[in-house]
Symmetry: C2
Subunit: 414 residues, 2 copies
C-alpha cells in the first residue's frame, strides 16, 4: 500500500493564517466551506506546481484534478505561455495606456469564438457575468433575469440567493429560477412575464455542486435560443468554468447554437489574470456606452499570456486532447470501482468530470473514498466537478487508477 500523506506543516500554517485571515483560507479551499474538499485528508498550502502536479508545504506531491479550479489547462508553468508573459513583462504590464496586445487578443478571440463579434477584457469571471447582465438590462430596458436552478455565476449580489449573508431582497427580486433542461418552464415564464425578461443566463450544461452534472437534453438549447429570439431576450452563456474544455470555439458552438454574449475566465490564459466577455454586434454599442473598468484591466502581461494560451490550445486541438484523457481516466475509475463492487457515476463532460459513488444518499461513502485518494496523492474533490489539463500523462492516469483501487479497498474494508 502507498504511503499516507502527513500534513503537519499545513496544519501549523493554517493556525497562523487563521489569526490574520477570516476563516484562514477562503473560497473552495477553506475548511469553513467544509464540503468540497475532504477536510481532514487535504493539504491547506501549496509550495510549488509543475505540469499536472502540485506539491504542498509538507512535500507531498499531488496529481491535481482541480487545476486551480480551472485555470490550469495546458499544465502548470507552461513554457510557451510563461515565455510570452515574461517577454511582455520586460516592456511593462500595468501602464497608463494599454498595450496593443489587447487588440491582438481581441482579434484572436473574435477569430476563435464562433459567436464573438467583439471582446471586452476584465479580471474575474464575476466581472464579465455582471457586465453581461447590466448590458442586457441596458439593451432591453427590462429588469428580469432567468436562471437555471443549480447555477453559479460568481459572487455579486445579483447572482446570490436571498439566504446568503449580506443579500437583501432588492438584490434578487427580479430573478426567476427554473429547472435545468426544462424549456417548457422557460416558455411559461416568457408567457407570464411578457416583455419583462431582459436575459436568460446559463452555463452550457449543468455542472453544479453536490449533484451529478447534467448535459443539455436534445434540442434544449435550440428551443431556448428560439424562445429568446421570439421574446427579444438576450441569451448569455457563462462559459467561465467549461470554456475551452468542450470546444475552443465556445461551449455554445459545441451544443450547436450561438449565445448573444459569452463569458470566459479560468482557462483563458492558463492562470494569468484575465477574463473576457464576447458578444454579438447588436450589443457592441451598449457595451461601448458603459464605463466599466478596474485598476488592472489594461495590464499587458495577461493579454500576452492569453494570446499564447489560446494560440496553443487551437494548435493542439485542446478540447479533443482533454476529452481523450478524460475518457481514459473515466474508464479506469469506473473499472476500479466495479472491481470493488462500487457504482461510480462519472457525469458531465469527460474533461470536467463530476464523481459520485452511487447507492449512498448520505454521500459519506463518497467523501471517505475521495479522502483516501487525496491522502495517497490524487487530488480529487467531493462535490464539485474536476478539471483535466493537457500535461496529464498516461502514467498519471495509471497511477490515479491504482490509487483509486487502493482507496476503494480501504473504503470497502471499513
Amino acid at each position: 500500500m502507498r504511503e499516507i500523506n502527513r500534513y503537519d506543516k499545513s496544519r501549523e500554517y493554517y493556525e497562523r493564517a487563521s489569526k490574520v485571515i477570516p476563516s484562514g483560507v477562503y473560497g473552495h479551499q477553506g475548511p469553513a466551506e467544509g464540503c468540497f474538499v475532504p477536510v481532514e485528508a487535504f493539504p491547506f498550502f501549496s509550495e510549488k506546481a509543475q505540469g499536472s502536479y502540485f506539491w504542498d508545504v509538507d512535500g507531498n506531491r499531488f496529481i491535481d484534478y482541480m487545476c486551480a479550479y480551472g485555470p490550469n489547462i495546458l499544465g502548470y508553468n507552461d513554457p510557451d505561455v510563461d515565455a510570452a508573459a515574461a517577454e511582455q513583462r520586460k516592456k511593462g504590464d500595468c501602464i497608463t495606456a494599454p498595450s496593443t496586445k489587447m487588440i491582438e487578443f481581441a482579434e484572436l478571440m473574435v477569430d476563435t469564438v464562433a459567436s464573438a463579434d467583439w471582446a471586452f477584457f476584465a479580471k474575474n469571471g464575476n466581472d464579465v457575468t455582471t457586465l453581461s447582465i447590466m448590458a442586457a438590462r441596458a439593451y432591453t430596458k427590462r429588469k428580469k433575469i432567468v436562471f437555471f436552478k443549480g447555477y453559479y455565476h460568481g459572487v455579486s449580489p445579483w447572482t446570490q440567493k436571498l439566504d446568503y449573508p449580506g443579500i437583501i431582497e432588492e438584490d434578487v427580486c427580479n430573478n426567476i429560477y427554473i429547472p435545468w433542461n426544462d424549456s417548457d418552464a422557460l416558455g411559461e415564464v416568457f408567457d407570464k412575464y411578457k416583455g419583462e425578461i431582459a436575459a436568460v443566463i446559463s452555463q452550457p450544461y449543468m455542472h453544479g455542486n453536490f449533484k451529478d452534472n447534467v448535459l443539455p437534453a436534445g434540442g434544449f438549447w435550440q428551443r431556448v435560443r428560439k424562445l429568446c429570439d421570439d421574446n427579444d431576450t438576450v441569451l448569455i452563456i457563462d462559459d467561465v468554468r467549461a470554456g475551452f474544455r468542450l470546444d475552443i470555439a465556445g461551449s455554445d458552438h459545441y451544443f450547436g447554437f450561438e449565445a448573444d454574449m459569452i463569458c470566459f475566465c479560468k482557462a483563458l490564459a492558463n492562470g494569468y489574470n484575465v477574463s473576457a466577455l464576447c458578444g454579438k454586434d447588436f450589443l457592441k454599442n451598449t457595451i461601448s456606452g458603459m464605463t466599466f473598468t478596474g485598476s488592472y484591466w489594461l495590464s499587458a502581461v495577461p493579454f500576452a499570456a492569453g494570446i499564447a494560451c489560446v494560440t496553443k490550445m487551437r494548435e493542439m486541438d485542446i478540447a479533443k486532447v482533454l476529452d481523450e484523457k478524460g475518457k481514459k481516466l473515466r474508464d479506469g475509475l469506473v473499472g476500479a470501482a466495479k472491481s470493488h463492487g462500487f457504482d461510480l457515476r462519472v457525469t458531465g463532460a469527460p474533461s470536467l468530470f463530476y464523481l459520485r459513488i452511487a447507492d449512498d444518499p448520505t454521500l459519506s461513502l463518497h467523501q471517505r473514498w475521495v479522502a483516501e485518494c487525496v491522502k495517497r496523492g490524487v487530488y480529487f474533490t467531493n462535490h464539485h466537478n474536476h478539471f483535466i489539463n493537457a500535461a496529464l500523462s498516461d502514467e498519471d492516469i495509471a497511477e490515479t487508477v491504482q490509487v483509486a483501487n487502493e482507496a476503494f479497498e480501504v473504503v470497502k474494508k471499513n
Copy 2:
C-alpha cells in the same frame, strides 16, 4: 519650443481596436468617455514603461502623472518587486491550494495598517468594496448605505447611479447621498433612518472628478466616527485610490480615526493584480461566513509582489517621499501659471494632486493647457486627480515645469 508629438500609429491601432473591442479602448483611456484625457492630444497605446515614464507606440516618451491610474507607486518595473514576483513565479502562481505567501502578506498588512486586525485578498478594488457592503449588511442586518456625493467605489450595480446604463431602481433604492464634509447631514440621516443604516462608505477625502478635490474639515472624521459608533453602523473607508500615498498605515490613520473596514487596491503591489479588504476583529466572523472568491484570488505571484512593495514602501517612508515630490511639482506648476497670468488651483493631497485653471467655468482653457502639456510629453489628465510615483526625479519635475510654461504660453497666445 519643444517638439510636438505625433500619434499616427496610435490612431491606426485605434481603428483596428474599434473593430473588435467596444469603444476601441475602454475605461478612462477610452475616447468614448471623452472627458478625463485630452482626446486629440493623447496617445492611445503604450509600447513600454520604465520608472516614471512610458513610451507610446509612436515612440513618444511621457513623464507619467497618471501612474496607470494609481498602481505605479514605486516606479514602473521596480526591480525589487519584479524580483520577488519572478522568484515566486518559478515555483508557481495560480495553484489549487494557496501559497503561504498569502499568510505572510496578511501578516504584513495587519502589521502595517493601523485599523487592520485581519486581511482578505481579492483582485479588484470593486471586489473588496462590494464585499465590505455585503459584510456590513450581514453584520447589521440592515439595508441602507450612506454615500458622500462625488464618490467612486467601483463599477458594481450597488454603487452606480440610476441613470447609468443597465442600473435598475432596486440596485440603488437603499442608497442615501449626502454632501461631503457635512457631518450635520449625516446626523440628520441617522435620525431619519434610525436603526436602518448598515454602513457609511467614503473615500478618505473627496478626490472626485470634474471638481477641485476637498480634504476633510477639521473634526469631520471624528464626528463621523462617533455617529457611526452611536448608531451601530459600520464605517467603511475606500482607500483604493489614495491608499499608501497619504499614510502607509492607512488614510484613516492619516486623518486621525479608525475605519471598521478599509479597502486597498492600486498601489498595493506596484501594478501586480491584487486588492485587499482589512478590518476590525468584530467583523472577522462575518467575513468568515461568506464564500466570496474568484478564479485567480489565491495566486501567489501578486502576493509575493505585494509583500515586496509594502515592505519597500515602509522602508522608504513612501508617503513622505511622494508628498515632497508632489509639493515641489505643485510649487513649480503654480509659479509657471502665475508667470503667465493664470491661477492654477492644485487641490487634494500633493501626492494625488488635482489640477484646474481657475476663472474658466467652461474648463476649456484648462483642457487646452493639459492638451499642450501632453503633446509635449507630460502626461496630465483633465478632470481626474493625478498620481506621483517614487521614481519621479527632480529633473522630471524641472522638465514638467518647463513644459507647463510652454503650454501656458501657447494657451495665452490663442
